[in-house]
């Protein structure tokens, strides 16, 4: 009887400790996702009560939305596939390199590589707009002009040819974030005896060391890094409008799926349609995270 009472009080205090986060999690993550799924089957202008329209939002998104199919989807995939896996591989290579040197220079170099990911959107915008600015005062233009590579300044940020490339460069510049730190920690945590044993067994060089020992021993951190990179790649939609100064970006060249959501939600007030795009986005992130999970999960 006493045991039972103790068990109960333990359960209730546990629930009390869990409750605040559970509440906020439901309010700002779980319920909004459910509402988004619900709204995606309706027509909703933000004022009148949503009216049920079945799958028609999804159907027109996947068959009739020319901007979505011709610009947004290719842009999103190009951006996410380069910045996601690319950022992840870059993070790993750099993380591995900094673990091959001593602690003090490692700390300094890690800070330098991590710094871009914490400068904040405001600084990213100002500094990169200044570098790629379309007139002769832009740093890159001024450099190219001075060295006679070009005669007329190139309007990098308004030219559909260049905008996406620039967005990707800026995103990669910022990609050494929290996943990068996790990878460094993961590599430093690999048991030294594993390497020694492997050398006894005939391992010869650093490359084999990385493939056969380092990566398999830090799969959990690799997975964490990969998921963070993917989420990051899909959730940074602000770069295009920030760099070009307009949403939609010139000829939709820098529009990714997030900008499309904003366009429909806040410019056209077609909230039901915007919700359908959100659901597609969440599904895409979940899919790619699953792929990463299959690659790096520990076999049981």
């Amino acid at each position: 009887m006493k045991m039972r009472k103790k068990y109960n009080s333990d359960l209730w205090t546990a629930v009390a400790l869990l409750a605040p986060y559970l509440l906020l999690f439901s309010l700002f993550i779980a319920i909004p996702v459910i509402i988004a799924i619900g709204l995606s089957f309706t027509y909703f202008d933000g004022v009148n009560f949503p009216s049920f329209v079945g799958l028609s939002n999804y159907i027109s998104l996947l068959t009739q939305d020319e901007i979505f199919l011709k610009y947004v989807i290719p842009n999103t995939f190009k951006y996410a596939l380069i910045v996601g896996p690319g950022g992840c591989v870059l993070s790993f290579i750099l993380a591995w390199m900094v673990t091959q040197i001593q602690a003090v220079p490692r700390t300094i170099l890690t800070l330098c590589l991590y710094m871009p990911s914490m400068v904040g959107s405001l600084m990213v915008q100002i500094v990169w707009v200044t570098i790629f600015s379309g007139d002769q005062r832009g740093l890159l233009n001024s450099f190219l002009l001075k060295n006679d590579f070009i005669d007329v300044p190139i309007d990098f940020l308004q030219d559909p040819k260049y905008l996406m490339t620039i967005i990707i460069i800026v995103a990669l510049w910022q990609s050494m974030g929290i996943g990068f730190l996790a990878m460094i920690a993961g590599i430093l945590n690999v048991n030294d005896e594993l390497y020694e044993a492997a050398y006894v067994d005939g391992m010869r060089n650093r490359f084999q060391e990385v493939i056969y020992i380092t990566i398999p021993s830090m799969k959990p951190q690799m997975l964490f890094g990969a998921v963070m990179a993917i989420v990051n790649a899909f959730s940074t939609g602000w770069l295009g409008p920030a760099l070009s100064g307009s949403n939609p970006t010139p000829e939709y060249s820098g529009n990714v799926i997030l900008n499309h959501i904003e366009d429909y939600a806040y410019t056209r007030y077609e909230m039901g349609y915007a919700a359908a795009i959100s659901v597609v986005l969440l599904l895409m992130v979940a899919f790619f995270s699953k792929v990463a999970g299959a690659l790096f999960s520990e076999k049981k």
């Binding site: 700002f28 591995w96 904040g120 959107s121 405001l122 100002i126 929290i178 730190l181 430093l188 997030l258």
Partner: protein, 292 residues
């Protein structure tokens, strides 16, 4: 001899050896490239007006001046709200968010980690794991509807609560608490301690590195958050400095350019200092960060 060779090959070397040179040769130039834009920003913030619009552009300022920073602090918004008010708002919001979030996160992570015997905790942890992939901007519309319905528009709460729903904080914290020995907690229960006491006297002191990391992450997201000011706050006096400077930079005019640069430095410095002070703790948290 053979033994010595092996030592040089492993990670985290204690001594310098010639074969580390190639790593320095790649890493140092790369680190410089990464930091250069930030250095340029600093230089921009200290430039006098003449240099800001000089042609050809000047990379590193020749006559550094504090004028931009002075102007920044004298600024005021279109409705007469002084810049210092926005700054104060941000400091209060970030401070409260960090404090509240640390408590809520540690409490929740403790239950998820040490109360696995209850089905609900296991289930919720896997739900939170899925939510790591959550993209908040994707659901701004439903969030907005929900916030309106709850009457939270234009309240301080709306600045703070959405940021606390941070799955990654729970995740990092839980992985770290997993390593706190169960025996220690059992001993405390035998001595009559309840869950709240265990949390305060055992879990919190033993997970300081993870708490520091969660604090940094929360601070960074709270400090640079603009979602609330953009969408959920209508009265000007309750908006944040980040929002204000963002709005200012959109109207990038001759007069504001240096000021916005100074502002972006002002916003960046707290992040930098906090990270430098806490980086060893962050690294120790990250070694627990694997998704298993």
């Amino acid at each position: 001899m053979a033994k010595k060779r092996l030592k040089g090959r492993r990670g985290n070397p204690k001594y310098f050896s010639a074969d580390q040179l190639k790593f320095y040769l790649i890493l140092i130039p790369l680190a410089i490239i990464m930091v250069l834009p930030v250095v340029y920003m600093f230089s921009e913030a200290f430039k006098p007006l003449g240099e800001l619009y000089a042609f050809p552009p000047i990379l590193i300022t020749k006559n550094p001046t504090m004028t931009n920073f002075k102007k920044l602090f004298e600024l005021s918004g279109s409705t007469g709200v002084p810049m210092t008010r926005y700054l104060l708002n941000s400091v209060i919001i970030a401070g409260v968010t960090v404090l509240v979030n640390i408590y809520i996160t540690v409490a929740c992570a403790f239950v998820l980690s040490k109360k696995g015997k209850y089905k609900v905790t296991k289930w919720f942890f896997s739900l939170n794991q899925t939510a790591l992939m959550f993209v908040p901007v994707a659901v701004t519309v439903p969030r907005y509807i929900l916030i309106v319905k709850m009457g939270m528009i234009d309240t301080w709460a709306v600045h703070i609560f959405p940021l606390i729903a941070m799955p990654i904080g729970i995740f990092l914290m839980k992985q770290f608490i997993d390593d706190v020995p169960d025996a220690l907690i059992e001993a405390a229960y035998v001595d009559g301690a309840g869950n709240f006491t265990v949390l305060r006297k055992i879990i919190m002191p033993m997970t300081k590195p993870a708490i520091a990391t969660v604090a940094i992450l929360t601070f960074q997201s709270a400090w640079s958050a603009t979602e609330a000011s953009n969408n959920f706050i209508t009265s000007d006096v309750m908006k944040t400095i980040y929002y204000y400077l963002n709005a200012l930079s959109v109207s990038n005019t001759v007069a504001t350019r240096g000021v916005v640069a100074a502002g972006s430095i002002l916003l960046f410095i707290p992040n930098l200092i906090i990270f430098i002070c806490m980086q060893s703790r962050v690294m120790s948290t990250m070694s627990h960060s694997g998704i298993k």
